[in-house]
């Protein structure tokens, strides 16, 4: 029997409660965070929280060392790995003894363990009979905190002073009374006071609701039982983590990732991750990573454990997350590296870094457990942030908003990658098109999958997505993306995902764009950034990064987006797993029917011959083609390609063979 197994009798002896009570309270704590989540999402005004769920609500246990995260709601996943150390660190600085009932402490400080300045955090102690017994925290992405550009993520920033206001721990509410000076500071230094005021109140209200619900739980079960169940909850997660770690052979497992660039220097940024396993303990070491960027990519020390998401996906994806999972781990983030920037370095863009640290950790572990590997996800929360003046009829106000474009997840050892999903650290919803178009001068003309974008493999990588937007008023945008220069890596013989790119669409009717599954003839667009050939075709094989592009970097600031202009972002596809020549031919045919894979790519990347009219497999021709490619592969004359479009039209869509043939 697993030595980490604990019986019902053991639970009784160890925690002095029966297992049914322990489990009831464990799930009750999670349910409280879900109720808090509903409160926050319904109360918030910014679309990031209201529509996209870029938030988290948490309950922590007080300890002598600070605190430990016991329960967190489903939401923006990265917070499950950062809120625990952050809140513990804040409590140490503020002092638990200095909290009074109804006090809420606010901070957004990345150098104290938070993410970037727009991800704000509130902390409140839950008191019971006059004594603090638990800690409640919530975090959400608010619309703006000042700085050079709207939205708080400032491509081109080199120091954090340019990003917005950095707020050390401050009282937001004192005994449930709003602290005017803090509110004034926050509201008078942002572009969106009308959104921020609502969000701050929602954050406070959420904590109040959480305290009320915790009181109900304590009233029902008794404080001693709830405290005991909290210890049980943490120990349970720790046991699961240790049990999984003990199955991994002792050793050091290393992986390297590269960010495309930092928006200032035209060179990739290296992230190195080594995971050392000793029995049921582990150490994550980022030594060997690049020195901190000149540009805005980086984090304080939050990435120490954000990467552990990549590990948890591997070893224990099912157990609800809490600090217990992190107990077997220590993390090393060398100060002055990209994963632990020294102030005043800019840390505005932390998410692209976080995606990479997760990929690196997952790929390092896949060396230890190749039979349970998964390929890289798109590794980018491609975000575009808009700012301008909305002069539409009936409007007449400045605006700022942002969108993310979900992409694909890497294929796994047993399934294709998920498509149209925000990156692993985010797990956010996509924006709601109708709300976006109503509230801001933008029209979403297209939002679809891109054909031939998932990395080929026995299991195919998740697809890329493209979004095409029309401006209804003069505005500017900032873009930050990744894997335009690089690609999401395939594993164990799988191909890389298709790199992303951005273009301006021109010379065509916006109500009738010449697009087929993400392909628009080169004649109708101007490359903004990405990898293109001399004919402006997006081509990761024969193209060159930045060729003919307006911007050399996929991190751009203040790009003019005048009224009537159309721009399209194509996010990267994800990596494939395993040899594509071993993919079930019926699945390839299904992908062709679903327009995930073209007829041409089915032949070129998978060796499956499909009739373009009937979309049926030609079994004889397939067997012959696969034999031919396998023999070439064995000799090194053929290898799995990066996902790409085998056929790309320059003038009209009719040039795409599938369309010609299907019109017979």
């Amino acid at each position: 029997m697993d030595r980490y197994f604990i019986s019902a009798d053991d639970v009784k002896k160890t925690y002095d409660i029966d297992i049914v009570t322990a489990e009831s309270i464990r799930n009750g704590l999670i349910q409280i965070t879900r109720q808090m989540q509903v409160t926050l999402v319904r109360g918030a005004l910014t679309p990031y929280v209201r529509d996209m769920m870029d938030m988290a609500t948490c309950i922590h246990r007080l300890t002598e060392e600070g605190s430990e995260l016991i329960a967190i709601t489903e939401g923006c996943v990265q917070h499950a790995f950062t809120q625990g150390p952050l809140v513990s660190h804040i409590l140490r600085e503020w002092g638990v003894e200095n909290f009074q009932e109804g006090d809420v402490v606010f901070t957004n400080d990345s150098f104290r363990g938070s993410l970037h300045f727009c991800d704000v955090n509130c902390v409140r102690l839950c008191f019971w009979e006059g004594k603090p017994v638990f800690v409640l925290s919530d975090t959400s992405h608010i619309a703006d905190m000042g700085g050079n550009t709207a939205g708080g993520v400032t491509p081109g920033a080199t120091v954090y002073f340019q990003e917005g206001i950095r707020v050390p721990p401050m009282l937001l509410y004192a005994n449930d009374i709003p602290v005017r000076s803090t509110f004034n500071l926050l509201l008078e230094n942002c572009r969106t006071p009308y959104l921020n005021l609502g969000d701050l109140r929602a954050l406070y209200g959420t904590l109040s609701i959480g305290e009320r619900l915790l009181h109900s739980l304590i009233k029902r079960w008794g404080l001693d039982n709830v405290l005991a169940a909290a210890r049980y909850t943490l120990d349970h997660a720790e046991r699961k983590a240790r049990s999984a770690l003990s199955e991994i052979p002792d050793g050091i497992y290393e992986a390297t990732e590269f960010l495309d660039d930092d928006g200032i220097e035209d060179k990739p940024v290296k992230i190195h991750c080594a995971i050392s396993i000793r029995g049921d303990n582990a150490e994550i070491d980022f030594s060997g990573s690049a020195v901190q960027c000149l540009g805005y990519i980086g984090s304080g020390w939050a990435d120490a454990f954000r990467c552990a998401l990549g590990i948890k996906l591997f070893i224990d994806p099912g157990t609800p997350m809490n600090s217990g999972f992190l107990r077997p781990f220590d993390a090393i983030v060398p100060p002055g590296s990209v994963v632990c920037k020294l102030p005043p370095g800019s840390i505005a863009e932390h998410s692209q870094l976080g995606n990479r640290t997760v990929s690196a950790a997952a790929r390092a572990l896949s060396l230890a457990l190749p039979e349970r590997g998964f390929a890289d996800e798109s590794a980018t929360l491609t975000s575009t942030h808009f700012e301008g003046f909305d002069d539409r009829h009936g409007k007449g106000n400045p605006f700022t908003t942002g969108i993310i474009t979900p992409a694909g997840w890497g294929a796994t050892y047993k399934s294709d990658g998920v498509s149209y999903c925000a990156v692993a650290i985010a797990n956010c919803y996509d924006y709601i098109v109708e709300f976006l178009e109503q509230e801001y001068p933008l029209v979403v003309l297209e939002r679809e999958f891109v054909i031939d974008s998932g990395g080929p493999g026995k299991y195919r990588g998740g697809l890329a997505t493209y979004v095409t937007l029309l401006a209804l008023a003069d505005q500017e945008f900032n873009l930050w993306a990744e894997n335009y220069r690089g690609a999401a890596l395939g594993v164990h013989g799988g191909g890389n995902g298709k790199p992303g790119y951005t273009t301006f669409i021109e010379g065509t009717d916006p109500t009738n764009l010449p697009t087929w599954e993400g392909i628009t003839p080169s004649k109708y667009f101007k490359p903004f950034c990405g990898t293109f050939d001399k004919d402006k075709r997006p081509d990761p094989i024969n193209g060159k990064y930045g060729l003919g592009c307006i911007s050399w970097s996929d991190k751009s600031i203040r790009v003019r987006f005048p009224k009537g202009a159309i721009f399209r972002t194509v996010v990267p596809g994800a990596g494939g797993y395993g040899n594509p020549l071993e993919r079930d031919a019926d699945k390839v045919a299904q992908d062709v029917r679903n327009r995930f894979v073209s007829v041409a790519a089915a032949e070129e990347s998978y060796g499956v011959i499909i009739d373009p009219c009937s979309l049926q497999i030609n079994k004889e021709a397939t067997a012959s083609k696969r034999k031919e490619l396998s023999e070439k592969q064995a000799k090194g004359e053929w290898q799995v390609s990066v996902a790409h479009h085998p056929v790309y039209p320059l003038e009209t869509l009719d040039e795409i063979v599938e369309i010609k043939e299907s019109r017979r």
């Binding site: 300890t63 600070g66 605190s67 430990e68 625990g84 150390p85 952050l86 513990s88 660190h89 140490r92 600085e93 503020w94 002092g95 200095n98 402490v105 150098f111 104290r112 363990g113 050390p168 721990p169 401050m170 009282l171 004192a174 602290v179 290296k270 190195h272 050392s276 000793r278 029995g279 303990n281 582990a282 150490e283 030594s287 060997g288 990573s289 690049a290 020195v291 901190q292 000149l294 304080g300 020390w301 120490a304 454990f305 600090s323 992190l326 107990r327 781990f329 220590d330 993390a331 090393i332 983030v333 060398p334 100060p335 002055g336 590296s337 632990c340 020294l342 102030p343 005043p344 370095g345």
Partner: protein
């Protein structure tokens, strides 16, 4: 606490490594003498550990002292008397 932990110069090195300081001790768990001291992020926040490199047993762990320069940023007001407002 002063202002020494607030603003830094960007390092000159191309890649950054943590320095683990060897410690003259023996692991009480496995008997190894490969013991090192270095800064970490623990699930409760930044700490300094003395840790066996063979089995990862922690011989000791503490919240970093001011001169240990970890975490890199520390507020100038650390150690000051706290008011009602913080």
């Amino acid at each position: 606490m002063g202002i020494e932990h607030m603003i830094y110069r960007r390092p000159n090195e191309e890649f950054i490594f943590i320095k683990k300081e060897p410690i003259d001790a023996k692991c009480p768990k496995c008997g190894s003498t490969d013991i090192k001291k270095y800064p970490i992020i623990h699930y409760t926040g930044p700490r300094v550990v003395i840790k066996c490199q063979s089995c990862f047993h922690k011989l000791s762990m503490w919240y970093p002292k001011a001169d240990e320069m970890w975490p890199p940023f520390r507020p100038a007001t650390e150690g000051w008397k706290i008011s009602r407002s913080g």
